[in-house]
Amino acid sequence: MSDFLLLAFLFLIAGVAAVPIATALGLGSVLGYLIAGIALSPILLLLEVDVVSIQHFAEFGVVMMLFLVGLELEPKRLWEMRNRLLGLGGLQVGLTAALIAGVLIAFQMDWRIAVAVGLILAMSSTAIVLQTLAEKGLLRGDGGQASFSVLLFQDIAVIPILALVPLLAMPGAHHAGAEDGHGAGMSLVADLAGWQAALVTAGAIALVIAGGMFLTRPLFRYIAKARLREIFVATALMFVVGIALLMTLVGLSPALGTFLAGVVLANSEYRHELESDIDPFRGLLLGLFFMTVGAAINFQMLWDDLFPILGLTFAVIAAKALVLLILARIFALRGSEKFLFGLGLAQAGEFGFVLSSFAVSNLVLPETMAPRLNLIITLSMMLTPGLFILYERVIRPAFDRPVVREDDEITEKGTAIIAGHGRFGGIVNRMLLAAGYKTTVLDHSAAQLDMLRVFGFNVYYGDASRPDLLHAAGIEEATLLVIAIDDPAQAVAIVHHVSQNHPHVHIIARARDRHHVYELYNAGCRDVIRETFDSSVRAGRSSYEALGMHPFEAERLARAFVKADRHALYELAQVWDPEIPETQNPAYVQKVREMNEVMEPGAALGAFRERHERGWTPPSPQDTETDRQRIEAARDGA
């Protein structure tokens, strides 16, 4: 137990110390984790920790990441990507493997080993690239999308490659029972004939898709009714882990399975809730994964052979970048996006570790070669953040394009977030949709959601008072947040959080009463709408008309009343103090007294009346006479 705690503490402290520094320096979190891992490596060596097994565990972060990426991608979009997925991805893996193998063969290497090494190095690092792209907000651009297609293809390609590698084994060196060290120790398909295995595999995928489509909604609704956050988190985890397990059992990539499940759930109302529940796990596991990459560097080997290894690393990066840039040209990526694609994917990746150990156990690779290969892979991953920095600081500015937000339809994150879809928020949502704006609606009543879904509204389950859920709903990119939830205290809490942390967001908050207005104003909301005020004013105006007032007069009087009342409310909100009861707040009491004087019924409604009476007042006969005399005098003088 203490061993586990010590290890956890070590990793946590390294991450906590290094990542904020790296981010502050603009290097990105990945580099921070990698450096933290390097710093840890002597201690881990001392404690005789098995870094590789931790790395396998931490790779589950990649699985979660793919699930989250899937959640962001509607099935329709995935289908639109199919050409790039197969074309770009297939060509990248094929050409890179061929190029590297060709060069190695030219250097007198056995062709079987050369092909294996080529395939191993053709893989890129899904973890590093996706994390960095997402962090820098580059995932939505053209280059980011192309990179994602390639990474997804590689994920799928690992499975046929795993099948292919044993065929490359040296003649006469057959080695049964090879285990890739990546998959689980059991398999549903190992003892089946080919067609049976294919059937089981297809069945498993169908199960994931069907389950995602039909099973999740009732399940999540049932869980949501319990209103227990941790059970929802547990369900989400259960879901992801279960799919990963199923995929491993049938010999498919768990990342691929969870990605598919994510895509299936992309339209679900529980999407944002799932996103915010899984995201912390993804972050921690990927962090751990990056640290293990850093910690796994064999410095002894590196120093011994410094220049050859560094040279080979750069050669690998150059070769991969060359292939990528050619593909970028063929697939018409424009401007700096081309280089983002070319440099971003130029490293070798974590799948390379899996493939190399698999290749060794299948006697394809000589045992002495694998550690060096792994070192090259690790070093190329280490250099990736540097390449991203090169792209951001040098290449993109050189293209000097204004950063256009392309492919806006990729993200369903609306520019307006509406918290609470009841009588109040529902109207706001309908108005915004009618005017063609995109909205993201969060509501926390499962029953309400079901009804809205039936009517075709785009609403999500979730408690909007949770910052992580607002984050998942896209508060960073939102222009507007409408808080229309029932609980007044929660509304104040949301205003406080958002106005502090996302000052760019315009907040419109629904207020219960005057007191609530003061609280919301105090918390930082400058657009407070009293929920029954406007309808009360309309009732007042109708009363004026019913009592015989001219409708235009009634309208103007109502407007004047609104103006005077809002002004008074604003003035009072300025002096209101949450710490002092209103009756003991001298400034507040003073203001109310002043207002009572002018608002008293007998006093002709004071300022309110005066404001109303100005306008279209005819000039007096004296006015007319004055003008006449002045103009005639001027003319006579001229």
């Binding site: 001219h550 409708p551 235009f552 279209w616 007319t624 006449r628 005639e632």
Partner: protein
């Protein structure tokens, strides 16, 4: 009988004497549609379709308003801007008002002698009303001389209001000498070119 549509427009009926009296006189008269434009659209949300149908259903349109800064009150302009669309009142296919009559009933604060080259308002009253006259021409309507009350703030409005009543019934009953009304400069309660009874 001509179908007559009467719009009265005063944003502050409480402070108006002449315009209120005029509206009161003709309201409820048989065969005359009389509307208080500011009561109809207190929030300026003019219904273009409704208003166009109203125009099509009548032969004579009378706009009654006080002269504010040498023009009509804002809502009358808004009504004109929105309802007299191209394709309806003018432009391609815009001949739906063709042949109808347009007449203004205007009250001014200044006295009669103020309007003219010698007066302190410097221009003839008709000069200030040329936008309406030209609008009628563009819409292929006949534009009659305006029915005017000068010095409305100092004058007892009753005679003018009664004259307005006579004018409106004459228009309705087609007893107004249109040719005379077209060629006159302005009409007042004692210069109405009525036919038949004189």
């Amino acid at each position: 009988m001509a179908r007559l549509l009467h719009y009265a427009a005063h944003p502050s009926p409480g402070t108006s004497s002449a315009n209120s009296a005029m509206l009161k006189r003709v309201r409820g008269l048989e065969g005359i549609t009389s509307l208080d434009l500011y009561a109809e659209y207190p929030r300026y949300d003019i219904d273009i379709e409704d208003e166009q149908q109203r125009l099509l259903a009548h032969d004579v349109i009378v706009l009654q308003f006080p002269l504010f800064w040498y023009s009509c009150p804002a809502l009358v302009k808004e009504w004109l801007d929105l309802v007299w669309e191209h394709g309806f009142a003018y432009g391609r296919g815009g001949d739906r008002l063709k042949g109808k009559l347009l007449m203004l009933a205007v009250t001014t604060g200044g006295p009669q002698e103020a309007y003219g080259a010698e007066g302190y308002q410097h221009y003839e009253l008709r000069t200030f009303l040329t936008p309406f006259e030209q609008a009628a021409r563009l819409a292929q309507m006949r534009f009659l001389a305006p029915y005017v009350l000068h010095g409305a703030l100092k004058t007892e409005p009753e005679a003018h209001a009664l004259g307005f009543l006579r004018l409106m019934t004459a228009l309705r009953d087609e007893r107004l000498d249109l040719r005379a009304a077209e060629s006159a400069d302005i009409l007042t309660h004692d210069t109405l070119p009525l036919m038949g009874i004189n």
